[in-house]
C-alpha cells in the first residue's frame, strides 16, 4: 500500500475493484465503513455481487479480464471532461515530457513500436518488444524535455489522450458487459476526487494481479490516481491488499526471484563483480531529482556485510547466487522446469502448490519428478500427500517426502509486516505443541547440518556456506529447537556499525545499531540485512514493538500514529507525501494535511526526504523524480492496452486486431482453450471470508469448515436453466486441463453479461478446497486454471479462463 489501513477512513471515494475487502480483508472494512460514515462514496466493480458490494453505494458488474477496458475508459472520461488535477499533473508527473518521435502505437494492430514476432498463439501473435523507441527527448544535459502547456503532440499527455481515444463508453460497455449507465456512475463518482481537496483511493488484490495483463491493470489505476492527484494524499493512493498477514514482510525480504532484500535486483551472471553490479545503479542528471536508488551501493554493501561479516563486500559478492541473463525463475517457470525433471529436490515451506498453483494437475505431476521434497506445514495437505492423491499409484512415485511440523504464527515471537508496511512485533503466545519447531529453528538446524557436511567433507565452493553469519541469528550455546533468536535477526536486519565510524561529526562505535538508512555506507563499515528496515531496531530499542498512541493534533486529524509499531521506510506512513503539497509546501487539502512546511521544517508525517519544498521532485524512487503516465520499463507497453485473457470466449475484440497480450508468459506444451466451443463459460476463482488460501489451516478448523464446508460454483439463474441445474445440485466443472465437483449455488448475485451482442455466462469458484480433508469438500479449483502468466511478473491468470459446467 502507498498508504495504510486506517488511512482508508480519510477517503472521499473508495474503489474496490480487483478486491473483495469485506470477504478477504475483513478488518479493512472497519476503516472503509468509517469513511462511508464520513460521507465517502463506496464503489464495488466485480463480476459478482459480493459482501463488499452489499456495503457499497455503487455496484457495477464486469466481465472478468476487462479491467483495462474499464479503467482506460475512466482515463478518457477524466481527460474528456477536464476533471484532472492540472497543477499536480504538470508539476509532479511525466505528462509534459516529450517522447521519442519514433515511438508509435498501431491502433489497428494493437501493438507498440518495436514488436518482434517470435511465434503464434491461437488467434494471436507472440513475441517481445525492443524498447529503444520507448524513450524521451532530452536536452544537452540528458534531462527530458518538457512542454508544461501539455500541447506538444509528442508529449506524454497528448499521447495518452490519443491512446485512450478508442476507449469510448460504448466500446468499453460492449467489451466488459457493464452498462453505460453503470460505467458513468463509477467514472463520475471517482473522477470527482480530482478536486485538490478530495481524495479517492483504490483497494485491489489478486483480482487485478492474476491476469496476463496484471501489472498493466495496476498501472492503469496508478495513472488514474496521478491524473486526479490522489497519490501522496491521505485517503488516496494505490493500495494493494496483500494476501497473507506477512506477505508484505516476505516480499520485503526477497520472496520473489528477481529481487534480493530491500527490492534490489538479483545479481545476474553478466555482473561478475560488485563493481559491475554497482555500475547498474540508477543515475539522474537532474539536480532536482533525488533518485534515491543512487544510494544502492551502500545498501548492497551493507547487505553483504550482514550476511558475511568477515569478508569485504567485494569478495562476498562472489558468494551471491546469480541468475542467468534473461532468466525467468518465477512460479510457473519453476513448476514447468520441475515438470521437465530439472529439479532433484524441493522445499514446500508454508505453501501447498498442489492446490494453490495454477494448473494444479501439472504441479502434482511435477512433484513426482523430484527425488525428494520437504514439506513444512502444520497439517497434512495435498502437496505433502500428492503421492497418494486421486489417480496416483504410490508405487510409481519415486519422490521421498519429508514432513516437518512447524510452530504456528501465535507460537513464536517476531515481526509481521502488514499491507500498510507496518512492522508489528508480536510476543509469543502459547508454546509450540509437541515437536513443532519455529521456522527459524528448522532453517538454522538444516543449515548447521549442511555446514557440518561441508566442513567434514568439503565440496564445490564451500565459502558461501562456511562464512555465512550465524552469530547474528543463533543464541550462543543453545541447541535445536531453541537456537533461533528473533531479536538478533531483527537487529542485524536493522544493521550495526562494523567498526568505529564518524558520520557528519558523530562517531558511532563498532557494534552500535545504525540509526537510519541515510547512515549506511558502501565501504563495509555498516551492515544491514535490509536497508528498508534500517531504523526499526535502533539503540533506542525495538521500534516495531512500540504501542504508543501519542500523536500531534495534525496527526490525529488523519489517524496517523507515528509511535505505534514502525513502518518502512523511515517510519513514513504515506508514501510520496511530498506530492500532497504544492511546490511551496502548502497542503492541497488543508483539512486533511499529511505534511506541511512550517517555520522552516516539515510537520506531520515523515516527508519523502527533508529537502525544503520544491527542491526535489516528489517521486524520489524514480530516476526522473516524476509519477509516470508513460512507463517505459514494462515488457508489454508504456501504456496499458486492453487484450483478452489467454483463454477467452471470442476470436476478436473491439480494441484492436491483437486478441491477447502478445508478450504473455505461456508454455508450448500446456493446454489452453481459447474460443473453444467445448468450454463456453468464463471461469474465475476467488476466496471467501471463512477460509484462508488453500484452506490448509482453515479446513482443519471445525468452526470455519462448518461455516463454509464445501467447494461450490456460483452461477446465474439463466445458466442454471440452460444446463437444468437446481440450487444445491452437485455439478461438474471442467476446463481443458481438468475437472472438479462442486455444489451449484444458483444466485441472482451473478448475472449473465452481454458482450458484443452475445450473452455470456460465468462460473465462480473458490479455491480453498482439496482432496485431503474433508472428504466431501471437493478438490482444488486450480485443477482448472491455466499455466499462463503476466509477462512482467509471471503471476498466473487464475481470474479469467474458460470452463464448461454440467449436472453430475
Amino acid at each position: 500500500m502507498t498508504n495504510h489501513y486506517n488511512d482508508l477512513m480519510n477517503s472521499d471515494c473508495i474503489l474496490m475493484m480487483g478486491a473483495n475487502p469485506a470477504e478477504n480483508h475483513p478488518i479493512s472494512m472497519k476503516w472503509v465503513l468509517k469513511a462511508k460514515e464520513r460521507g465517502a462514496t463506496l464503489i464495488t466493480v466485480d463480476p459478482r455481487y459480493t459482501r463488499s458490494a452489499a456495503k457499497s453505494h455503487i455496484y457495477a458488474p464486469m466481465r472478468s479480464g476487462t479491467d483495462i477496458a474499464i479503467l482506460g475508459g475512466m482515463i478518457k472520461y477524466i481527460l474528456d471532461n477536464d476533471l484532472y488535477f492540472r497543477d499536480y499533473v504538470v508539476n509532479y508527473t511525466n505528462a509534459p515530457q516529450l517522447v521519442n518521435p519514433d515511438y508509435r502505437f498501431d491502433e489497428e494492430q494493437g501493438l507498440f513500436s518495436g514488436f518482434e514476432k517470435v511465434g503464434e498463439m491461437p488467434f494471436a501473435d507472440f513475441g517481445f518488444y525492443d524498447k529503444t523507441t520507448w524513450t524521451f527527448q532530452k536536452d544537452a544535459d540528458g534531462i527530458a524535455l518538457r512542454d508544461e502547456t501539455l500541447q506538444d503532440p509528442n508529449c506524454v499527455f497528448q499521447l495518452m489522450k490519443k491512446h485512450y481515444e478508442r476507449y469510448t463508453l460504448e466500446r468499453v460497455s460492449d467489451t466488459a458487459g457493464t452498462s453505460v449507465e453503470d460505467l458513468e456512475a463509477v467514472y463520475s463518482a471517482f473522477a470527482a476526487t480530482g478536486a485538490p481537496d478530495k481524495a479517492g483511493t483504490s483497494m485491489y488484490a489478486m483480482g487485478w494481479t492474476q491476469h496476463t495483463s496484471g501489472v498493466q491493470n495496476i498501472r492503469s489505476m496508478a495513472m488514474i490516481q496521478l491524473l486526479l492527484g490522489n497519490v501522496g494524499q491521505p485517503g488516496g493512493g494505490v493500495n494493494a491488499l496483500r494476501g497473507t498477514s506477512n506477505v508484505q514482510g516476505s516480499t520485503d525480504q526477497a520472496l520473489l526471484f528477481h529481487i534480493i532484500p530491500g527490492y534490489m535486483p538479483t545479481p545476474r551472471a553478466n555482473l561478475a563483480s560488485l563493481q559491475d553490479y554497482n555500475a547498474t545503479t540508477p543515475s539522474s542528471p537532474d539536480p532536482k531529482s533525488a533518485n534515491w536508488w543512487q544510494n544502492r551501493p551502500k545498501y548492497i554493501a551493507s547487505l553483504l556485510k550482514a550476511m558475511y561479516p568477515d569478508q569485504d563486500p567485494e569478495e562476498s559478492y562472489n558468494y551471491m547466487p546469480k541468475l542467468d541473463v534473461g532468466q525467468n525463475a518465477s512460479w510457473l517457470v519453476l513448476f514447468d522446469q520441475m515438470h521437465n525433471g530439472k529439479f532433484k529436490g524441493f522445499f514446500s515451506w508454508g505453501m501447498n502448490p498442489a492446490t494453490s498453483g495454477s494448473n494444479a494437475n501439472k504441479n502434482r505431476e511435477a512433484l513426482a519428478q523430484l527425488d525428494w521434497m520437504v514439506c513444512v506445514n502444520p497439517f497434512d495437505n495435498e502437496t505433502a500427500s500428492f503421492w497418494k492423491g486421486p489417480g496416483v499409484d504410490p508405487g510409481n512415485v519415486k519422490t521421498e517426502v519429508f514432513f516437518l511440523p512447524p510452530a504456528l504464527f501465535a507460537e513464536k515471537e517476531g515481526a509481521v509486516t502488514n499491507s500498510g508496511r507496518w512492522a508489528q512485533w508480536r510476543y509469543q503466545g502459547p508454546k509450540p505443541l509437541g515437536q513443532c519447531a519455529r521456522d527459524g529453528d528448522i532453517m538454522l538446524e538444516i543449515f548447521r547440518r549442511v555446514r557440518t557436511l561441508y566442513e567434514e567433507e568439503g565440496g564445490a565452493f564451500p565459502d558461501p556456506i562456511l562464512n555465512l553469519n550465524q552469530k547474528d541469528m543463533a543464541k550462543e550455546g543453545a541447541t535445536f529447537p531453541n537456537r533461533y533468536d528473533p531479536h538478533k535477526v531483527a537487529k542485524v536486519m536493522n544493521g550495526y556499525f562494523t567498526r568505529d565510524t564518524t558520520i557528519n561529526g558523530t562517531t558511532y562505535s563498532a557494534g552500535t545499531q545504525v540509526p537510519s538508512f541515510p547512515s549506511l555506507q558502501d565501504d563495509g563499515s555498516t551492515c544491514s540485512g535490509n536497508w528498508l528496515f534500517c531504523g526499526s531496531y535502533t539503540e533506542a530499542g525495538n521500534m516495531m514493538a512500540r504501542r504508543d498512541k501519542t500523536q500531534t493534533e495534525m496527526q490525529s486529524n488523519i489517524g496517523l500514529f507515528p509511535n505505534w509499531s514502525w513502518a518502512w521506510p523511515v517510519n513514513r506512513r504515506v508514501l510520496y507525501n511530498r506530492a500532497s503539497v504544492d511546490p511551496q509546501g502548502n497542503p492541497y487539502n488543508p483539512e486533511r494535511a499529511v505534511i506541511r512546511w512550517e517555520n522552516g521544517q516539515w510537520v506531520g508525517d515523515v516527508p519523502d526526504g527533508g529537502w525544503p519544498p520544491g527542491e526535489r521532485h516528489p517521486f524520489i524512487m524514480r530516476p526522473q523524480g516524476y509519477g509516470q503516465f508513460f512507463g517505459p520499463g514494462l515488457a508489454d507497453g508504456p501504456f496499458p492496452e486492453h487484450y483478452e485473457a489467454l483463454e477467452c470466449p471470442y476470436e476478436e475484440q473491439p480494441f484492436s486486431a491483437q486478441l491477447h497480450n502478445p508478450t504473455a508468459l505461456h508454455f508450448e506444451a500446456d493446454k489452453e482453450a481459447a474460443c473453444d466451443p467445448r468450454y463456453p463459460f468464463v471461469g474465475t476463482t476467488y476466496r471467501v471470508c471463512e477460509h484462508w488460501q488453500t484452506g490448509l489451516m482453515t479446513r482443519w478448523t471445525p468452526w470455519l469448515l462448518e461455516a463454509m464446508p464445501q467447494q461450490f460454483a456460483e452461477i446465474d439463474p439463466e445458466l442454471a436453466r440452460l444446463r437444468e441445474i437446481n440450487n444445491g445440485d452437485m455439478v461438474i466443472v471442467e476446463s481443458v486441463r481438468g475437472q472438479i465437483e462442486a455444489v451449484a449455488m444458483v444466485t441472482p448475485r451473478v448475472q449473465p453479461f452481454t458482450v458484443m451482442g452475445q450473452t455470456l455466462h460465468m462460473v465462480g469458484l473458490p479455491w480453498h478446497y482439496g482432496w485431503v480433508y474433508p472428504e466431501y469438500g471437493g478438490d482444488s479449483a486450480n485443477l482448472l486454471t491455466p499455466s499462463v502468466g503476466d509477462p512482467n511478473t509471471g503471476i498466473p491468470e487464475t481470474k479469467a479462463f474458460m470452463v464448461n459446467i454440467r449436472k453430475k
Binding site: 472494512m29 471445525p702 448475485r749
Partner: protein
C-alpha cells in the same frame, strides 16, 4: 439499574461471521456437520450448539439483486421474557433472569420444560432443543464474561462496530442516534422492538426481509398460549402456593 444491552447495527455488518465463530469458541460448542446447501449461510439455522447465526438473505427485485442482507441473529434478552413466564409455570429455576444485567439464562433444568411451549412463546424463534438431553439452549449474553467486566465474545470480535454492548440506556441512545443518520440513506430503517428488548437491532430495510421472525410486532398482537395467559395473570405459580 437498567442492566445491559446490545446494539446491533446491520448497516455495519459485513457477514464476516467472526461473531458466529467467536460464540462457538467461547462456549466451546462443536461444529455441526454441514454441507453447502446453495447458500453462504451455514449452519442453516440456530441450534442447541449454535447460539449465534449470521443470516444472509438476497433482496431481489425483478431478478436483480438490490442488496444482500446480513443479520447476526441471537436471543434478544427480552426485558419481560415470555419464555421465562411460560417456563416458570413448570420450573422457576429452569429459566433465570439475572437481576444486574437482565440476561435471560437457560439452565440445566430446562429439561423440565416443554420445548414446544417455550419455542412458541418466543416471538423471535430463538430457543433450540438438544434431543439427546432434552435441554434447551440459546445465547447467554456471555454472562460469565460480562460479570467479569468483559465484552460478550461476539462483540469483542466484531471488526466493524456492528455489534455493540454496554449499559442498556447507552445502547438505546446509540441506537436512536444511529437510526437518525441511517435514515438519510435508508428512509425505512427501523429499530426492532426497541423498548421491549435488551438486544436492539437497527434494520436498514424491512425487518422481515432479513428473517421472518426478525421483529415481534409483525406477528400481530400477542397470541398467548393458555399457559402464557395464566403466567401473565398469576405470575409465578409456585409463588402463589
Amino acid at each position: 439499574m437498567d442492566g445491559k444491552g446490545f446494539f446491533i447495527d446491520l448497516t455495519r455488518c459485513t457477514a464476516c461471521r467472526g461473531c458466529q465463530v467467536a460464540c462457538k469458541q467461547w462456549h466451546n460448542h462443536p461444529a455441526e456437520d454441514t454441507r453447502n446447501w446453495g447458500s453462504f449461510q451455514n449452519p442453516p439455522d440456530l441450534s442447541y450448539v449454535t447460539y449465534k447465526l449470521v443470516r444472509m438473505e438476497e433482496y431481489v427485485e425483478n431478478g436483480q439483486v438490490k442488496d444482500w442482507l446480513f443479520f447476526p441473529d441471537q436471543c434478544r434478552h427480552c426485558i419481560q421474557p415470555p419464555c421465562k413466564m411460560v417456563g416458570d409455570m413448570d420450573d422457576e429455576r429452569a429459566i433465570l433472569q439475572d437481576f444486574d444485567t437482565g440476561a435471560v439464562l437457560f439452565t440445566e433444568r430446562t429439561n423440565n420444560l416443554f420445548f414446544d411451549e417455550i419455542l412458541a412463546s418466543c416471538p423471535y424463534d430463538i430457543p433450540r432443543l438438544d434431543e439427546a438431553t432434552n435441554l434447551q439452549g440459546k445465547c447467554d449474553m456471555c454472562f460469565d464474561r460480562v460479570i467479569n467486566d468483559k465484552l460478550p465474545a461476539c462483540v469483542l470480535v466484531c471488526p466493524t462496530g456492528a455489534m455493540n454492548f454496554g449499559d442498556l440506556d447507552e445502547m438505546r441512545q446509540m441506537a436512536d442516534e444511529r437510526l437518525e443518520v441511517v435514515k438519510e440513506e435508508f428512509p425505512n430503517a427501523v429499530l426492532g422492538d426497541p423498548n421491549a428488548l435488551r438486544v436492539i437491532v437497527l434494520f436498514h430495510r424491512e425487518p422481515t426481509r432479513f428473517h421472518h421472525a426478525a421483529v415481534a410486532s409483525l406477528h400481530g398482537p400477542g397470541r398467548f398460549t393458555r399457559k402464557q395467559a395464566f403466567a401473565k395473570m398469576f405470575g409465578n405459580r409456585k409463588a402463589l402456593i
